[in-house]
């Protein structure tokens, strides 16, 4: 049985925020402008992004509401009434609440009844895990349709007050993602029959390498002794120890390039990917810097995919973590020329602890 992505949708909160205005929204830490901001922005190439918080640090829309809006946009553009939705599969890095699962909150916001529910937990690749759960559900004949939503509200972690609450000075690894991540949600509708021009999912395949590498991106761990935020006597102590900052071990980041290329070479070897047949590449690279590196390594291996086939909206929509791939696919579908028979390769290399997920789509016309 084939599974098709028959509709897509997205939600980006508020007006786009350009590089000049970021700090006005996120705030000056101890009243001082960041010395790293320019350098990090230069490397990631992002020019605009959206935040769900305002300059007074009020949250204007919750993560669950953003997810529901993306889901609604996706359903509104589909042939399916939401009363007939059978499965809801949802991903985020951090829900509004620690418990219950994010999926429950999104279902309630969206107002869909009796669905089978799935929540994926992780970072950038969690949306692909949610997608795969839905895809296999349809493939197994369990359901005729599924709505998959990925949503992120990272900006709450980046408020100046979060950094000021930490006893020591904030290091590069703790500041790195402040100039990288932003908010938004994306949604895909899966059905077991094609509608108009849509995408058939040929396969989804993930390779996780957490057994071989240390943690590269985290929230919840104290840098000094590796303690979990839950191991402190009070949450205030955990915050003072920096355990609640979102951190990236930038020295480990090069591994993401190697592992991204490794997975692709593996898929070529298995015969799943034929480089010469790929018409479009949608790769969730966190920053422009890595695009070049991935590209060079593929070229070196003789598996280069010409640059004009690569599409991204990273630079204008921001890096929205797990929502990025869905927001990218949605904009691709609406704005980029593609024809029946085209092959689309999607890649989500996640640096959290190195989980890489790949997907191949074929454009079909009903």
């Amino acid at each position: 049985m084939s599974v098709y992505i028959t509709s897509t949708g997205h939600y980006l909160p508020g007006e786009p925020v350009d590089n000049e205005r970021i700090e006005a929204v996120l705030g000056l830490v101890h009243g001082k402008p960041s010395r790293l901001k320019r350098r990090i922005l230069q490397s990631n190439g992002i020019r605009q992004r959206h935040y769900a918080i305002d300059a007074e640090h009020n949250t204007l829309i919750s993560n669950g509401e953003m997810a529901a809006r993306a889901g609604r946009a996706c359903l509104d553009d589909s042939y399916l009434d939401k009363s007939r939705l059978e499965m809801l599969s949802v991903a985020t890095s951090q829900g509004d609440l620690v418990l219950p699962g994010f999926g429950s909150m999104v279902q309630a916001e969206l107002g869909v009844a009796d669905v089978e529910l799935h929540s994926s937990h992780g970072i950038c690749s969690s949306s692909m895990m949610a997608l795969k759960a839905a895809y296999t559900g349809l493939k197994a004949g369990e359901h005729d349709n599924a709505l998959v939503i990925a949503s992120e509200l990272a900006s709450r972690l980046f408020k100046a007050s979060r950094y000021e609450a930490v006893a020591q000075e904030v290091d590069f690894n703790a500041e790195f993602l402040r100039w990288m991540l932003s908010d938004g949600a994306g949604a895909l509708l899966l059905e077991n029959e094609p509608r108009r021009r849509c995408f058939r999912i040929d396969w989804i395949r993930g390779f996780s390498h957490a057994d071989s590498y240390p943690v590269c991106m985290s929230v919840g761990r104290a840098e000094s002794d590796g303690r979990s935020w839950q191991d402190f006597a009070t949450y205030a102590e955990a915050e003072a120890a920096g355990a609640l900052l979102i951190r990236q071990d930038v020295r480990l980041l090069d591994n993401i390039v190697k592992l991204g290329v490794d997975g692709l070479l593996r898929l070529i070897d298995e015969g799943r990917v034929e480089v010469g047949r790929i018409d479009h590449v949608l790769c969730h690279y966190s920053s422009h810097y890595f695009r070049g590196k991935i590209f060079d390594m593929l070229t070196q291996a003789g598996a280069a995919i010409p640059e004009e086939k690569w599409y991204t909206n990273l630079y204008t929509r921001g890096n929205t973590g797990c929502a990025s791939m869905f927001i990218m696919l949605d904009e691709f579908r609406r704005t980029q020329s593609h024809r029946a028979g085209d092959t689309i390769l999607c890649m989500v290399p996640e640096s959290g602890r190195f989980n890489n997920v790949y997907m191949q789509l074929t454009v079909v016309e009903e």
């Binding site: 071989s212 590498y213 240390p214 591994n255 592992l259 490794d262 590209f295 070196q300 291996a301 003789g302």
Partner: protein, 227 residues
């Protein structure tokens, strides 16, 4: 940037070698002493221990390369020259390694009296065996792993070791030195891949030797915990 290898078989071979390398890096990530290094929980004693075990293989390394060189027959005279050049450059590397061991607080007699661990024995035996075969083109696979490791030591391990042990670079010369000529070495390897990977059998042999060397090298590092 261009594709480094020109022929179709060579390209497939390079893709295979890259995958073997990536897999090797993951194997390294599971080795206890390397995990400690990557987590910054690595002592000077760990470092001396690492050198002690590496030295027994490094000192033998020159032997399989020279043995391999002599196994190339007349049709491979150009390859033989390359391999001899490589052997000449590296056959006294162990002296630098010994000096690092001493600079890191070790005694020269100790490292000189060191024995090969189980992994080093297996690696050495395998290399000498392969190098003794006529026209051992698969040695390229071994060189790929050893060269890659040299680069990893220079670009990553040396810095981590100095950071974790509060060193100033004085006792990580061996590892750092390996980075100096890396690009040139790698370019030579790419050329060699095109030169010696001409049949599917040769391609298979190169990849197999690379895989075996990677596994045995990782074993050698695992064995550090056992003596």
């Amino acid at each position: 940037m261009e594709s480094k290898v020109a022929t179709q078989l060579g390209q497939e071979c390079l893709q295979g070698l890259m995958r073997v390398w990536f897999d090797f890096e993951r194997q390294l990530g599971r080795v206890p002493i390397i995990q400690r290094l990557e987590r910054g929980r690595f002592t000077r004693e760990d470092y001396r221990n690492l050198l002690l075990h590496l030295r027994q293989q490094v000192i033998e390394g020159a032997r399989w390369i020279t043995r391999g060189a002599s196994s190339f027959e007349r049709d491979y005279a150009d390859v033989r020259s390359e391999v001899i050049g490589h052997a000449k450059e590296e056959h006294r590397d162990y002296e630098m390694l010994e000096a690092d061991f001493v600079a890191a607080g070790g005694a020269l007699e100790e490292i000189r009296a060191g024995q090969r661990n189980a992994g080093s024995e297996a690696l050495h035996a395998f290399m000498m065996y392969r190098a003794s075969q006529p026209n051992p083109v698969d040695l390229i696979g071994a060189m790929w792993i050893i060269e890659g490791l040299g680069q990893k030591m220079a670009s990553d391990w040396a810095r981590r070791i100095d950071e974790a042990t509060e060193g100033d670079g004085r006792y990580t010369c061996f590892m750092r030195y390996h980075g100096e000529n890396d690009d040139a070495h790698l370019d030579k390897l790419y050329t060699l891949i095109d030169r010696v990977c001409r049949t599917p059998e040769q391609q298979q042999a190169i990849l197999r030797t690379a895989r075996v060397v990677a596994r045995l090298y990782a074993l050698q590092l695992e064995e550090i915990e056992h003596g």
